[in-house]
Symmetry: C2
Amino acid sequence: MPDGFAKTPEPPYYAVIFTSKRTEGDHGYEAMAQAMFDLALKQPGCFGAETARGDDGIGITVAYFADGESIKNWKQNAQHLVAQKLGKERWYSHYELRVAKVERDYSGPEGR
Amino acid sequence: MPDGFAKTPEPPYYAVIFTSKRTEGDHGYEAMAQAMFDLALKQPGCFGAETARGDDGIGITVAYFADGESIKNWKQNAQHLVAQKLGKERWYSHYELRVAKVERDYSGPEGR
């Protein structure tokens, strides 16, 4: 799998889709975002994650999990709880979080 | 809903998650990407979409649909078929497409 893509198993599995708009300034965000990305990948049941943020401040991170239990454990991880609190207080002007069950998936382009 | 976020109804609904890595150079990509984003939003059953691409060339677009039928219709849209073909030939070095059923969602930060 190329860099930047999550290696996920055959469906079904879960996707946690986090879309956010950043506030102005860093306020410790970049270091925490990288730490949380790395920490998520170490969680039992986490298959990987994909992330992108453009110049308009809109970012999307999708993390892939085996089941609802592993998502719940990640949500309640102590370090992640600190990051969630700072996210609400400092880093995000708005966010949407969606939990979805992946039913099918495709890769491409074929042959590359 | 702030700019850049999709206004989705109460779950369940569907998310089509498209993660891609761009090839070098534009080759008509930006104009087509914007046209396809706008066209998707006009499809019956499409609630909206969110998109981000960072400096590393990894982009994530998530489009939200009412059901499998509206996703199928969008996949087979004539203009979209042209874009899909060019995407495979020119624009993407790799992509992953996942179709997922959103079971629950949250907004934040509360009070902003």
